[in-house]
Amino acid sequence: MSEKNQIQDLIAKRAAKELTGPCVVNLGIGIPTLVAKYIEDENVYFHTENGLLGVTDVEEGQIDPNLVNAGKLPVGETIGASFFNSAESFAMIRGGHVDVAILGVLQVDQSGQIANWAVPGKNIMGVGGAMDLLVGAKKVIVTTTHTSKDGKSKLLKKCHFPITSTRSVDMIITELAVFEVEEGKLNLLELMPGITIEEVRDKTEADFIDQLKERAK
């Protein structure tokens, strides 16, 4: 497994610990999609905005071109699954019926606001369901690599890309650490195995409160 894949799996595995059934979960494209493989609790139900509650893996031989997730990747349907149209699917999201959304980001800031749909100077071409999930999901968890490809912190004092919502996310999970957003501030909750607080400080532009230290007092 490549280093990139290992990092993604590490983040997904940690995020999976946040999901205990019964709950309805919507997974974004990328790292969030990987979370499902670490869930054994059959009372965790996966929702996809293109119209399916009860998403599961599909074996190569069973692929149906008309059964996909929001990333247009082939999926399967669980026993007890249901199909519905797009407006009903978004009524579930906007109406507060989805418990958890796990999303990727381009940037997240120290107030917990995220940017994940547009890059300034590039054509604004796609938003999909990102803005709907931010206003509607009861809990929003961000899974992301801590830094971008050029090594810059993705956890910023303030997002400079266009924000997805004025709502703050609830939790941020990276390959270095786990943060919780509380009253518009970032709290460092956990270090990932083998990671030091110095390394996290070094790679994080956002201000955060070191809860580990606070707890040790």
Binding site: T48, E49, N50, G51, L52, I63, D64, P65, N66, L67, V68, K72, E77, F83, F84, N85, S86, A87, S89, F90, A91, I93, R94, A118, N123, I124, M125, G126, V127, G128, G129, A130, M131, D132, V135, G136, P162, I163, T164, S165, T166
Partner: protein
Amino acid sequence: MSKIHQDIEKALACVKDGHTLMVGGFGLIGAPLTLIDGLTKKEVTELTVISNNLGEIGKGLGELLRQKKIKKAVGSYFTSNREVGDYYQKGEIELELLPQGTLSESMRAGGAGIGGYYTKTGVGTELAKGKEEREINGIKYIFEPAIRADVALIRAWKADTLGNLVYYKTARNFNPLMATAADVVIVEVDEIVEPGELSPEVIVTPHLFVDGIIKAKKILTKEGVIDYE
């Protein structure tokens, strides 16, 4: 009068220059590929297309884009066809981006005779620019108008000869909403059956919404889009 069309030209006779079309599908999944193929062979121009995406590169609505028949596209995610950006840069297409929940809810409203509605989605973002904001019970909302079209081209699994429709898995997506929100609704299906063969309990789109039916000649398979007789 029968709603069933044998030939694609007649099924698409309702589409005129300058029309606003709704076209079903999430990418190519649930897209009316036969009707779109028919549009690529029809002399028509200045279309406004309301669809979640503009197909894929050179496929589905992507082919119509290449023929420059689309003046404006309204959707939530154009990134799935990189060529849309190129045409936009050259000023050859107008784009209107809506959150996917707003796109679908605006169709629902359009089909139900509702003028518009207030939603929290998008408040405080670039997509709220120029939209009326209103506070209801202490929460901020923006106004979104309903959308309708001259013609909706949709895809279903089965139709009976009256026009009752059922859909297949995630190929359902926007199709049942579009069926309600256009002056003329043309559907392509895998199978046409006699009334009574579809249980009234499972019909998703009742026949009053449907004006024309044609059998699909292009279908999506694991290997891509193929011709089907």
